[in-house]
């Protein structure tokens, strides 16, 4: 199953929730912001979303800036 993450194509195997996918990708999920198909999804909702073919994910975090 192919989805897009931060503008790059990604391949998924099997059925995964958003929460499971991100946990596998990153150690530190604090302060992570997710836009799922253009919708901002709060962290407590991540487990309720099952990723589908052609989904578009933007995964963002705060970094240093002025």
């Amino acid at each position: 199953m192919g989805i897009t993450v931060n503008g790059q194509p990604a391949e998924l195997t099997g059925t995964q929730t958003l929460s499971a996918y991100l946990t596998k990708k990153m150690d530190d999920l604090s302060g992570i912001i997710v836009e799922y198909n253009g919708q901002i999804i709060k962290q407590d909702q991540w487990a309720t979303i099952t990723l589908q073919e052609k989904d578009n994910l933007e995964v963002l975090r705060f970094v240093g800036g002025g």
């Binding site: 503008g7 912001i33 963002l60 975090r61 705060f62 240093g64």
Partner: protein, 260 residues
């Protein structure tokens, strides 16, 4: 800090004891940030929002920012009002409050902000109850439009971003301070504590400093120097700077006729 009670800086419903805002960019290590905050006394700190790079194991800047500090996300990277609005909404969704520094830059050569797009973004976000702090060139007409658009303050630049060149726009800053009823926060270009001090003496409400602190040999010591300079400048402004000369003149070439 006794006099702070007489001189509170209220912004976005928050009463601030320090009039120095600091940034989190360009530090050799984000571990310096807590000491920079502690030494400068600053209670407002800017951060940017970026896509996560899954390949690199980057440090999470948020781990270094105390919860008591007011977070001020910026919209850096936005080239249009729409992009700035999108970034602002994402930042708020992260649960870090409703303050936003609008920064719309389509000019990669000088990094000068786009006033027109900034006004458009401010209008939209102010209606959504953001505390909007727009970064602008010190243009009176843009600043007036931002007042009408619902900005909480205006943040004119002293010199191009990251240039450390000081208050090159002094004459225009003076005009904004005189004419705009909102707090004027000088952002960008301040390279030395003396320049921050001068901006405060002129009547700026606050200064935002990032590069000058982050790029110092000793950022923590420089943070304290900026904190002190901003406080001193504010005190001087409140005290009223005294006359430089008495304009004494023995003869009266222009008004002598009144005595004859």
């Amino acid at each position: 800090m006794a006099e702070y009670h007489l001189d509170p800086f209220v912004l976005g419903g928050r009463t601030l004891t320090s009039r120095l805002f600091v940034g989190t960019g360009k530090y050799a290590s984000d571990h310096l940030i807590p000491d920079v905050l502690a030494q400068s006394g600053s209670e407002v700190i800017t951060v940017a929002l970026r896509r996560v790079d899954f390949a690199a194991s980057t440090d999470n800047v948020m781990r270094h920012i105390p919860k008591t500090v007011q977070l001020l996300p910026n919209t850096s990277g936005a080239r249009t009002a729409e992009e700035a609005v999108r970034i602002a909404r994402l930042a708020r969704a992260a649960g870090c409050g409703n303050w936003i520094k609008i920064e719309v830059i389509a000019d990669n050569k000088y990094l000068l902000p786009d006033g027109y797009e900034t006004v458009k973004a401010t209008e939209i976000l102010a209606r959504e109850d953001f505390v909007v702090l727009p970064y602008i060139s010190p243009d009176l007409m843009v600043a007036k439009a931002l007042v009408d658009a619902g900005a909480a303050a205006v943040m004119p630049l002293g010199a191009p971003i990251g240039s450390n060149r000081g208050l090159q726009t002094k004459e225009l800053l003076r005009i904004l301070i005189a004419e705009i009823a909102l707090p004027v926060i000088v952002d960008a270009g301040i390279g030395r504590p003396s320049e921050a001090c001068e901006a405060m003496e002129m009547g700026a409400a606050a200064c935002l400093v990032n590069t000058a602190i982050a790029s110092a040999n000793d950022p923590v010591a420089m943070a304290k120097a900026f904190g002190d300079a901003v406080a001193a400048g504010r005190q001087a402004y409140r005290a009223g700077v005294g006359p430089i000369s008495q304009l004494a003149q023995a003869s009266s070439p222009l008004t002598g006729f009144l005595h004859s």
